[in-house]
């Protein structure tokens, strides 16, 4: 039941893990919260933001239009929703209902349950990002990120950092209701610093400084740089990596099966 106890367990055949992955895919299709967040939300966001006239203007001090500048913010928002809602809530509900307790009596290492859930949600987050970038390029005239490698790295670290927060919620929340409330409360400050409502340069210097160390702000800075053709600066990449590693390790340490 504890991480310590799991370490001594020998691994049964990988067929078990593939079946568990299949179960999580079924969950994603039959209780499609994650699918709605991963596919529908990005589409809606693209349509809404493309309808705002002023966003077609070039952004001040940038080579991008204001709409293009919003693409990283929308990516941040989609990843955020998947990480804070679709990732933790099924595991927390399963734990509350006794599903994890049921799995704990089988030879399947309970870490597999978490891993399968992470993999499926990772796929959902990638789908959301592809929809936003490719959709923006195909239908709304946004240029593809000219520093593609840097952009992919920034996007992957964005997912990893946000999943760190999501996994911590998974470990700590006793009920899906608590997980939902915590996720919602975190969502707004994260989006605020990411520039959802006002560009970051409009904020007071202290707030800008704080923002540098929030994961979504770092993600937007890194992706924005890559869209303008630069490799992302080190600080936002390191900030995201730190969230991913520190919170991920703490979350796995604190994880309980009932």
């Amino acid at each position: 039941m504890t991480a310590h106890g799991l370490a001594t367990q020998t691994r049964p055949s990988s067929r078990g893990f593939r079946e568990l992955l299949k179960m999580e895919e079924r969950r994603a299709l039959r209780a499609p919260v994650g699918l709605l967040l991963g596919v529908l939300v990005p589409v809606i966001l693209l349509v809404i933001f493309s309808a705002i006239r002023g966003l077609k203007q070039p952004a001040p001090g940038s080579t991008l239009t204001m709409f293009a500048q919003y693409i990283p913010v929308l990516i941040g928002m989609s990843v955020c929703l998947i990480a804070l809602v679709s990732l933790p809530i099924p595991v927390v509900s399963d734990r509350q209902a006794g599903v994890l307790r049921r799995f704990a009596t089988t030879p399947a290492p309970p870490s597999w349950v978490l891993a399968a859930q992470v993999i499926v949600n990772f796929a959902l987050a990638l789908i959301a990002i592809v929809i936003l970038v490719a959709g923006g390029a195909l239908f709304f005239g946004v240029r593809m990120p000219s520093q593609l490698g840097g952009f992919v790295l920034a996007a992957l670290l964005c997912i990893a950092a946000m999943f760190g927060i999501g996994l911590l919620i998974t470990s700590l929340a006793r009920s899906p209701q608590v997980a939902g409330v915590v996720g919602t409360v975190l969502l707004y400050p994260l989006l605020f610093f990411a520039g959802m409502w006002t560009p970051k340069q409009n904020l007071a210097p202290t707030l800008q400084h704080i923002g540098n160390y929030t994961p979504l702000d770092a993600a937007v800075q890194a992706m924005d740089a890559a869209m303008q053709g630069h490799f992302p600066p080190a600080r936002p990449l390191l900030v995201m990596a730190a969230y991913a590693v520190v919170l991920g390790v703490v979350a796995i340490r604190l994880f309980r099966w009932e």
Binding site: M1, G5, T8, Q9, T10, R11, P12, S13, R15, G16, R18, E19, L20, K22, M23, R26, R27, R30, A31, P90, D94, A97, G98, V99, R101, R102, A104, T105, T106, P107, A108
Partner: protein
Amino acid sequence: MTTTSTPRESVAAVGPMDSAQVVTVDHLRKSYGPGAGVQDVSFRVRQGEIFGIIGPNGAGKTTTVECICGLRIPDSGVIQVLGLDPQVHRAAIRERVGVQLQESALPLFIKVGEALELFASFYPQPADPAELLEALGLTDKRNTYYRRLSGGLKQRLSIALALIGNPQIAILDELTTGLDPQARRDTWELIEHVRDRGVTVILVTHYMDEAERLCDRVLLIDHGAVAALGTPAGLAQSAGGGTHLRFVPSVPFDTRMLTVLPEVTDVAREGQRIRVTGTGDLVGAVVRALEAAGVQARDMQVESATLDDAYVRLTHHLEEAQRP
């Protein structure tokens, strides 16, 4: 419950036997704060038997089986399951022990057939899911979602999942709680089938009729300690044994003429009926006494002492002993 069920072994209850012991528990202790958990429990489970663990709510039954299957780490004591330590050989134990626990569930969106396929994939030599579905009467439910199953069907699926890994031991916790009488009886038959397949069954229950009907031996736990261990019939005997006799007298009579009989230990009124408890040739003695007094006994029922009597007496006794 009119007669004591036939025990499969009627004599010795405790002590070494020729058959192999598949579970040994020695001085298990696991506490969750004062009064809760298990204080000191020792017992052996023999290969091929149905071993019952009974006791009041909170007595430590579930904690004991959770320690056996390695879900909880004991504070002290030694547990061996098939010769292995559940804490050290977690995976090996899980491959050989099928478990159905209280308060466990499956994801709501999963279908019966999918659940069996999924669980089968966790084991090196699983049973055939289709065959197991057939044996448990779930074949026509294989495409039904878990959330649509009735309580009885969920329990059957739960048994199927406990057996899918071809276990040597099946631990079934509060299997029939919340089931209707027919479903309970069906479940009992299933458990006997499971044993007939050569699986040792550890059955946790708080229903005495269930333990009496199914179990070869019964462990009674109360307040985290062993209160008694033996065959259901043996326990019933040891707790005073004897016979209950119930009848409706044709005319009122003075019950003292029964209490003076040497065979009679107790006489009580239950509404219209008289209940006589005693030993030896109780029926003969009572009938002769009634005949002599010109009283006819109608609706006479004879009951051997049951596990229920033993349970009430033993748990009650412990409570009194623990009173300051």
